[in-house]
Symmetry: C2
Subunit: 488 residues, 2 copies
Amino acid sequence: MRIDDLLREYRSVWALDHARSLLEWDLEVNMPVEGAAARGEALARLTLIRREYLLRLKDLVDKYEESKDLNDLERGVIRVLRRELKYYTSIPPEILEELDRTTTKAAVVWREAKKESNFEKFKPYLTKIVELEQTIADRLGYEGHPYNALLDLYEEGFTVNDADSVFNKLLPNLKTILEKIRSEGRFPERHPLEEVPYDVNVMRSINEELLKILEMPVGSRFRMDVSAHPFTISMSVNDVRITTRYEGKDFRATMFSVIHESGHAMYELMIDPSLEMTPVGRGVSMGVHESQSRFWENIIGRSREFVHLIYPLLKERLPFLKDYSEDDVYRYFNIVRPSLIRVDADEVTYNFHIALRYEIEKGLIANKLSVSDLPSLWNDFMDKYLGVRPRNDAEGVLQDIHWSQGSFGYFPTYTLGNVIAGMIYAKLPQLKDKVINRRFNEIREFLRDRICRHGAIYPPKELLMRAFNDTYNPDYLLNYLREKYLGG
Amino acid sequence: MRIDDLLREYRSVWALDHARSLLEWDLEVNMPVEGAAARGEALARLTLIRREYLLRLKDLVDKYEESKDLNDLERGVIRVLRRELKYYTSIPPEILEELDRTTTKAAVVWREAKKESNFEKFKPYLTKIVELEQTIADRLGYEGHPYNALLDLYEEGFTVNDADSVFNKLLPNLKTILEKIRSEGRFPERHPLEEVPYDVNVMRSINEELLKILEMPVGSRFRMDVSAHPFTISMSVNDVRITTRYEGKDFRATMFSVIHESGHAMYELMIDPSLEMTPVGRGVSMGVHESQSRFWENIIGRSREFVHLIYPLLKERLPFLKDYSEDDVYRYFNIVRPSLIRVDADEVTYNFHIALRYEIEKGLIANKLSVSDLPSLWNDFMDKYLGVRPRNDAEGVLQDIHWSQGSFGYFPTYTLGNVIAGMIYAKLPQLKDKVINRRFNEIREFLRDRICRHGAIYPPKELLMRAFNDTYNPDYLLNYLREKYLGG
């Protein structure tokens, strides 16, 4: 390849990313608790070293950017590196260090504030973080709305205009769907299985069976562990790991976290191996990544066909299912209920939680909202969108970790994941047939071909156009939900 | 501290070492098998990056080396960094890369050659490695024997003269001790328990109890896992990890690997926390490190008092011990038998295996021996030292991995570990009393005070003089062995 010298140099950055990934995975999965201080220092140092090695690539990126005869892969490499260089060169290191210091403290304060349901405690940190995010947006530069600069960090090229048109389409239609579901009563709002405790070892064995059903390459290229919060991490196209957790009751939760994270893992496992150790050997955006996890979790995992496939296994291993039919389990997996907590929300109500966060972030970054107004604003939005009202800030504005980490611009990608998953559902032929006959290989090959194998070669909008001749179009998601919840 | 700027810069090197340690630990303990290629590349890159960051310290080290008013810690830091700089600056990178390439291939070939018991297959690689080690010795420089340059890499300041005087004292006396043990027949040469299979889960639970008895800080600063070969690794004074393995029979093996590795781990856990992230926050040498593991494994773990302590636990959990008394178990733990394989050797015969390797390495590096002569030379040595003769090269010259890795100069530190463990035994008051009463804390505090807390502040000979007013003196080990095997 013509850009060989650049790719060779890049391998040091890749190696540092590989190491940081393992350090973070180990931190959540294995590390003795008192190892935290040393681990934090090591991660901070490695981040600075990575920055230095990345900045060294600037001259080569400048040189190749001029070149007219690059192929798709080479253009992708230059595009991804240019974005990274822009981040490091336009934001002064002192700003990033200040953000780092602030969020490190804010994470601790947020945890306490949430426990005490005391927004006032968190307010000064959130105020400072919003200011820093505004500065970062200014330094990065933007066209149109300043929030565009932050959205772009998580979903390249995605703007406030795009988001507005997604939510403007989604919300009224979801509202109609939700009202119909509730009036028809075909899907429950509560289910007794939510309260039934399980044996952790039994659920562990069921999760291992799920990995077999999903044909995950356990031991050869993949592994599953336990951590406080489920996540996926990739050290290589041949070393991808997920975690789950066991909360002790409501057995759906651990199962669907396994299927969700396996979706993320499949994306990383299906990136073309020739992209390994290059800047494009990764998922292209948070939204596209989330589309894979949500497609497997919701569209496949919560389908009648998948329930049919796994019901015998569940029945055999979970004695408390003795009086529950396959249909009961299907309904338990598909409870629809306006609720206060995002992470517990179902397919139908989930995007309202995101819309609310999107509106707040957009307003904060543009200085149209004040941090002081957030608690009541939050509660009013919940009322308006879902007809429920938090009793306190712990189940309202303090529920998510994201803002304490400075992750402004991240939330909308959850909805993009749902939207893109709907597009996949529409375009993947005979999905139900494939699931019922365990032809998961054909599903994987479709996803590999359209999305995964390309890594980050194309920016997300181009990738979606190539794959589906459409971008972030919520109609497919709405059709899917209507079909599932209101159809036949 | 006056050398603050140097220590601050050094933290990047430390962070890279922290990361490399975790990458290596994970490689042995967790990694999905196909992740090996990416892991190898990441480790190689991180090693190069570490080299670059270390070399950046040269000017500061030069500057402080001139300074007259350094304290012990500062002098230690400069000494350790000077040694590292010397290694990188006196050996051309091409030589290190060639050694790396050669040993990577040699490790594979050695495994095959051992399986086929075919020394000829390994010979060209070993020849090449010996040449490279000779070059490295020349580049490093030495006084007296060229092998001194290599010994110094593993045991700072240790020379052929030192080694000769250790072995010249040890071997004839060990021979006499061994003959007496065998003629008196008080310790068995075989034991039926060697062949009894065990339940892995039961042995796992016994090992966990052993960690409790040894008061290891499981979960807070320490953990134990499983790998193909037991080892200890330290990521921080607050994050030290060991591994063991379960071979399915001869239950001593996994137990004593746990005690052995716990000894290594205690060393790292007892380094003064103020040395964390500095160049002296590590064990000072391989010999001193091995003294900790062998003291805990052999002198404590195989003692009558320790057996008395754990016999009830073993009896309770291992049904096959029902017809074996405490004394039977003690004798099983202390089988003495001239044998062919170093890693299976007992306290009395072990150092003969090392003496043989020492003589061969010394001769090879000085060009007084030829690689072609090794198989017969090996077998003759075994005959002379222990009266046993390998039937083939797999149980002779091909048994160890070390030479395929280019670790010339490493073997003698195993004997130094035994010798220093004997010195500790002689100097630690009322050891038997402390063990029988489970006053392990007092044993740890003695080791912490004399050895562990100092990290690498003093070179090993100085550390031993400060601790015991003596260095590498084998008399104590001989006295210990006479007392245990011939006494009372």
